[in-house]
């Protein structure tokens, strides 16, 4: 026995949520306001109507869900100069309820991973507030592309981590409903029916590397030549980090004039040369290979050592969005498969 929901019933719920002022977010085709013929990607975004949502389970949005919890620009507080005094103004805390419909499991799975960071030495108010305000309905992926590797990092297309409800397409009209949390159950309360049919488990992408081999390389391969040879084509942009569901680096900036301004938190990325540039002019990571090495270490060694979780869900966004088809996967695949004998070679 399992719960099912029809596409119609789901869309109806979505319309009610939108009508009630809730923010519904899901994969949708981005349309330029005055179409110029430029191909536009599918992205997660707030939808104005239920029909915009792409719910087939075959979409791979170019962005990730993190921006709905950790926006790319967030005002922390405002300041005004009043004579010799400085007056601070608090920013409003988020209060709109968010419902994510049609997220990919690998996007949702990144959120519990990020929870560790945002509740570590400091409990981040806005991140946690948005987590509380959000309910997540994911759809198990019905297809994968050559950049997907969830199975290599211990996940799968039916991974329910981070989701409140996981849907599996039975056919074009119906989904099997797997409730993961009470929050999810409340969200779809009354919209599902009990039926005697289960969706067939979707095919999972093949394993691309062995985590054990990768860890072994990371443990002893700091000076290995592969860091350079595999990353030579990296351009040092932020396309990988900014579309990654788990990357979370930020910069704190002040923006204003002589009268006042604001302090904000903006996304930042470790592949920019400026990221580690010291005021003295010295840069401890002075080339792209060293920046890439840092990125892979952070994801597969430093974060796991600190929080017990891999900082990667295998979503493939970093490679899919990379101008030169690199991303994390190509690097990790190459180093995990690198011959062992040069392990200590300089």
């Amino acid at each position: 026995m399992s719960e099912t929901i029809t596409r119609g019933a789901l869309l109806q719920r979505v319309s009610v949520w939108i009508g009630g002022g809730k923010s519904v977010i899901g994969p949708r085709q981005v349309k330029p306001a005055n179409g110029s013929g430029q191909e536009v990607p599918v992205q997660y975004g707030r939808v104005a109507s239920a029909e915009e949502l792409l719910l087939s389970g075959d979409t791979r949005p170019a962005n990730s869900l993190k921006e709905f919890f950790f926006p790319r620009h967030e005002k922390l507080y405002g300041y005004q100069f009043k004579g010799r005094q400085i007056e601070l103004t608090d920013t409003e805390q988020p209060s709109t309820e968010q419902i994510i419909v049609g997220g990919r499991p690998c996007d949702a799975a990144a959120l519990p991973v990020l929870d560790h960071l945002f509740n570590w030495d400091y409990r981040d108010e806005t991140f946690n507030r948005r987590r509380e305000l959000t309910t997540i309905v994911t759809i198990a992926c019905r297809s994968f592309d050559s950049h997907c590797f969830c199975t290599s990092v211990g996940s799968s297309p039916v991974d329910a981590r981070g989701s409140d409800v996981l849907l599996l397409a039975v056919d074009a009209e119906r989904y099997e409903v797997r409730f993961v949390t009470e929050k999810g159950r409340r969200l779809l309360n009354g919209a599902t029916t009990t039926a005697n049919e289960n969706a067939t488990e979707p095919a999972a992408p093949p394993k691309r590397f062995e985590m054990e081999q990768l860890k072994e390389f990371l443990a002893g391969g700091y000076e290995r030549p592969e860091w350079k040879t595999t990353t030579l084509r990296c351009l040092g942009c932020g396309a990988c980090a900014y579309t990654c569901p788990t990357c979370h680096c930020f910069d704190i900036v002040d923006e204003g004039n002589a009268a006042g301004g604001l302090r904000a938190r903006n996304w930042d990325a470790c592949q920019f040369g400026l990221f580690t540039l010291h005021a003295s002019g010295h840069n401890p990571r002075h080339n792209q290979a060293e920046r890439q090495r840092q990125r892979i270490h952070h994801k597969f060694q430093i974060y796991p050592d600190k929080f017990g979780e891999t900082l990667c869900t295998g979503c493939g966004n970093c490679t899919r969005n990379c101008p030169v088809g690199l991303g994390v996967l190509s690097v990790v695949e190459a180093i995990a498969a690198a011959p062992r004998e040069n392990q200590s070679q300089k």
């Binding site: 306001a33 579309t243 996304w267 030169v324 088809g325």
Partner: protein, 279 residues
């Protein structure tokens, strides 16, 4: 053709004419990506097909690549124009570079730019691989067709368009990093003492960034459309580039990268320059 390419590169490496070949390699699913061949036996990795999108000229100014030694670079006819600008701006020494021209078949690399392509065979390469049968003479109007269509809209409509588009900019700077002519070691967008361009990915910050990017490439952008291809937000940056390119062509009769003799408009001084804007 691919064989001819590999043999040429093998010879260049064997003879020691170059130490590295900057070309295209095969990726998964038939995708290609930039690859750097330093050993002659690795020339088998090189490919030439309709998915060779990247303008490899962007690597010619990167320290990591310069460190590999004297280079041979594969360029398509559109990419080649970047070499002309880079040389005029003293960023490369053409005598220290072997240029391998790749002539496109009629379809080119199947990017929007190929529709208005005037010249599918590189003109100044040291060696040219393949031949571009059926080249069609395109007119100025063809080149600016996309811009022309866009300019039919009212200023308000255009503003609304850019607001919708730039609202998606995440400031990943992929458009800058991929550009062969954005070679500044320190970009003005990264200047933070004091900040010149807001680093925030807000509408204000993204407008400031894109306006600056377009202006810094005015009369320099060669129209390879790489910035547009790589933008993860799908923003049609080409429209901005075309607009500046047309201004250069209409006012100065100049097109970046198409004439090896012409002096760059930003770097050259002439008594005949129209200077009304400065008075």
């Amino acid at each position: 053709m691919q064989n001819e390419l590999r043999q040429t590169c093998r010879r260049l490496l064997e003879e020691g004419t170059v130490q590295v070949v900057i070309g295209y390699g095969d990726g998964t699913d038939g995708q290609t990506f930039p690859t750097f061949v330093t050993r002659r036996d690795d020339v088998e990795r090189l490919v030439w097909n309709e998915r060779c999108y990247t303008n490899l000229a962007t690597y010619l100014t990167r320290p990591e690549i310069l460190a590999l030694g004297k280079a041979a670079i594969c360029v398509k006819a559109c990419d080649e124009r970047a070499l002309v600008v880079l040389e005029k701006e003293s960023q490369i020494d053409r005598s220290q570079l072997v240029v391998i021209g790749l002539a496109c078949s009629t379809d080119g690399v199947k990017q929007p730019k190929c529709e208005a392509c005037e010249n599918r065979t590189p003109r100044w390469a040291n060696v040219t691989i393949g031949d571009a049968a059926g080249e069609t003479a395109k007119t100025t109007a063809d080149r600016y067709a996309a811009l022309q269509a866009f300019m039919q809209k009212t200023p308000d409509e255009r503003m609304a368009y850019w607001k919708t588009e730039l609202a998606r900019c995440v400031k990943c700077y992929a458009c800058r990093q991929v550009c062969p002519l954005c070679y500044c070691r320190q970009c003005i967008a990264d200047k933070n003492r004091p900040v010149v361009i807001s680093t925030s990915a807000t509408l204000k910050g993204s407008f400031a960034w894109q306006i600056t990017r377009a202006f810094h490439l005015g009369g320099r952008c060669i129209g390879c459309d790489e910035c547009t291809r790589v933008c993860p937000a799908g923003i049609d940056l080409r429209l901005l580039n075309l607009s500046l390119a047309r201004a250069a062509e209409e006012n100065f009769n100049f097109r970046a990268g198409v004439d090896v003799e012409a002096e760059p408009i930003v770097g050259a001084y002439s008594e005949r320059d129209r200077e009304e804007f400065i008075r």
